[in-house]
Amino acid sequence: MRSRAAVWLCGMAVLALAGVAGWLWASRSGEGGAREVRVSRPVRAGDGVELREQSIPVPSGVEPMRRAVEALAEPAGEGGSSALPKGTRVLALSVREGVATLDLSGEFAALGESGLTGESLAQEALRRCFAQFPEVKRLTVTVEGRSFEGEHSGPWNDLPVREEDTAAGSEGRP
């Protein structure tokens, strides 16, 4: 009886170890478990508006990149605003050879009513969002499968996501 109990105990230990190892693997690979992504939201600053970053948790089983983009369209807290037009959803998101292609729902087209500042903040928030993923170097935005063109900035194709890749360098927002 005692030897059976020992074998049973060992079996339980193996299962427990497997569970711990799985949890560790998942949390280290970033595919599951608790982790965070950063999102930028417009806030009042001085005599204008600037983007402020905050970390948000990514629920288990949710792809972090998609979660980060979706969070940009969510209502912000008091005194803040969402960076993307409300209701904007991610229809598709893929990364191939360093270029992220982001297909957004039709609500995003309302960006044309956001003025120059709103359009600039939205593009910058998306660039910052993707800049936290090293595998992404450039970004193309489409709306329901069609190329998106900002009413001030023109086509949002092949946008560099990091400062060092842009002509703008380190120059800041007005």
Binding site: V20, G30, D47, S81, R128, E135, S153, G154
Partner: protein, 573 residues
């Protein structure tokens, strides 16, 4: 070999079970230990100054993993190779390293140990902060550090509230007991730390000293880079602290560059003048346009004025004088070019100093009647631009305001004899490239796009902004003229002339596609209740239109934005 104990219980299986349990116990402990040693996010500071990193660094106790974005902040450039498994890192001296990237979490990161040697930095963990700093000082380091010597290129320490590093004993912060001996710490710190002379072996020395108050100085772009700099000791004032240390990466801002020998003016003709700054070494000029009065600030890091000279009078229609001005930052000599006319400028370094070319902007320096202007009312048709509801189902649309103001401005300019073309005269949509194309087709001299802005937060911003493309000198002059005169006419705050690269990496489309000097002027903010009220008033719209007309005229006639325009003698009916 199986035996039985006194109670007759089989012993071998029991021993085996105990052994197996022990092995699994050890394995479990090892896994737990590994879990405990899993990398955790840490703040990274560079000699005590936080590195602003969007992605946090990770520390597992044995290694510090830096995000790739940290490399530029350490003065390094990199490229990713071999399917992004290797970063080829270029050190400040040009040397390159191949650094295998680690993956302590989801993202690829740089193991700090690979950079520590080449950068002459080591890490010290304190709580959730990891400080990168030069290796600890030898005991004699303090004696080798000379007190800072005031030079003509930086304010004397006494003037700036700084005393020689060896004898600094600042007043204690309120509520803190006065410590004895030299102390250090940033302004406003609750508890001063002991002075920290830190030696960089064969590279110089660093001393951080207290300052009584925050000084009106800007922080260096990256103080950390001082750690990998070339030999030499200079005083760098930054962010309430004085760094006595090797300056290279703080660049040019602090290294003595050259003493100015003379300032000469070469006038090719009335439309061009060259200002030559002769020095005993090369200079690194940077310029900035200041307003009210409009003037050009020429910043020369590390330069010094000649003995007894601080002003040079120019006898030229574009330029009145060059004179020294208060330094914008320690270690930077500022000269200001007092202008007589609106000028486009370009500065460059030369072997024996620097030069600034001033010229009449493109399409300017003549009567406004000779000019051809294209006015572009922003948006139109299905592109209504920004809009806001005003009750009763009515909305104010940007496209309507821009069309009204641009049409009024066109009328005013036409009355002055200017040939004006509009990109649209009705509520029609146009593509962005088609708008500046009108200026090219019509052989115009200027292109002005009229818009109204909006912020996602109500009442967050107010005023007039004129955007020009990237660094275009001619368009910048037009933007200066329009921003001042439009804001003044409409009674809006002047938010100035701003490069469109501060909004978008590739700038604004209508400016990017323009072949002539071009500006996009945002009259005001529809999201601001005060601006909105004004923008809807016909008399303010007329005043804004007059401001656009005056801005165009001021540019073409070369009149500085703050100067009144001459009364026009005749109007074309």
């Amino acid at each position: 070999m199986s035996g039985r104990d006194a109670r007759g219980v089989a012993m071998a299986p029991r021993r085996g079970a105990v052994g197996a349990a022990a092995i699994w116990g050890v394995l479990l402990c090892a896994l737990c230990a590994r879990a405990l040693a899993a990398p955790e996010p840490v703040r990274v500071t560079l000699r005590g100054k936080p590195l602003a990193l969007a992605t946090p660094a990770l520390d597992d106790g044995r290694e510090l993993y830096l995000p790739l974005a940290a490399l530029p902040r350490l003065g390094l450039t990199y490229t990713l190779e071999r399917r992004d498994e290797i970063a080829r890192v270029t050190l400040p001296g040009g040397r390159t390293l191949e650094v295998p990237l680690a993956r302590p979490a989801a993202e690829r990161m740089v193991p700090f140990s690979a950079l520590a040697g080449p950068l002459a930095l080591e890490r010290r963990r304190q709580g959730d902060t990891c400080d990168l700093r030069p290796p600890a000082a030898p005991s004699s380091a303090r004696e080798h550090v000379a007190p800072p010597k005031p030079t003509a290129t930086s304010p004397p320490p006494e003037k700036a509230g700084v005393q020689p590093a060896q004898s600094i004993d600042p007043p204690p912060p309120a509520g803190a007991s006065a410590p004895s001996g030299p102390k250090t710490g940033s302004a406003g710190a609750a508890q001063p730390e002991p002075a920290r002379p830190e030696a960089l072996p064969s590279r110089g020395a660093v001393v951080v000293v207290d300052l009584p108050d925050r000084l009106p100085v800007s922080a260096p772009a990256d103080p950390a880079q001082a750690a990998v700099a070339s030999p030499g000791v200079v005083l760098i004032l930054a962010d309430g602290r004085a760094f006595l240390g090797p300056p290279e990466p703080l660049a040019s801002e602090s290294r003595p560059a050259g003493r100015i020998v003379d300032v000469l003016f070469d006038a090719e003709d009335e439309r061009h003048v060259q200002v030559r700054i002769l020095a005993d070494g090369p200079l690194q000029p940077r310029t900035e346009v200041l307003s009210d009065p409009t003037r050009i600030a020429l910043d020369l890091p590390g330069a010094a004025l000649p003995e007894g000279a601080s002003e040079w009078i120019a006898d030229h229609p574009l330029l009145a004088a060059v004179r020294s001005a208060p330094a914008p930052r320690p270690g930077v000599l500022r000269l200001e070019l007092e202008l007589r006319n609106l000028v486009a400028h370009h500065a460059a370094a030369t072997a024996d100093g620097a030069l600034v070319n001033l010229r009449v902007p493109r399409g300017a320096g003549r009567s406004v009647q000779e000019a051809i202007v294209v006015l572009d009312p922003g948006h139109g048709g299905y592109q209504s631009g920004c809009n806001i509801g005003i009750g009763g189902g009515k909305r104010i649309l940007e496209k309507d305001i821009t069309l009204a103001v641009a049409s009024l401005a066109a009328g005013i300019l036409r009355k002055s004899g200017v040939r004006v073309h509009m990109t649209r005269t009705s509520d029609t949509a146009m593509t962005l490239p088609a708008r500046p194309a009108v200026a090219t087709e019509r052989n115009a001299d200027l292109f002005v796009s009229v818009h109204v802005d909006f912020t996602p937060i109500a009442n967050a911003a107010s005023g007039t902004t004129a955007y020009y493309h990237m660094q275009d000198a001619d368009s910048r002059c037009l933007a200066l003229s329009l921003a001042k005169r439009v804001s003044q006419a409409g009674g809006f705050p002047n938010r100035g002339a701003v490069s469109d690269r501060r909004l978008f990496a590739s700038g604004l489309a209508v400016l990017r596609h323009s072949t002539v000097p071009a500006v996009l002027v945002e009259l005001g903010y529809l999201s601001h209740s005060g601006d909105r009220r004004k923008l809807l008033q016909p008399e303010v719209q007329l005043a804004l239109a007059q401001g656009i007309a005056d801005g165009v005229r001021g540019y073409v006639e070369g009149v500085l934005p703050e100067q009144p325009l001459a009364q026009q003698t005749s109007e074309v009916p």
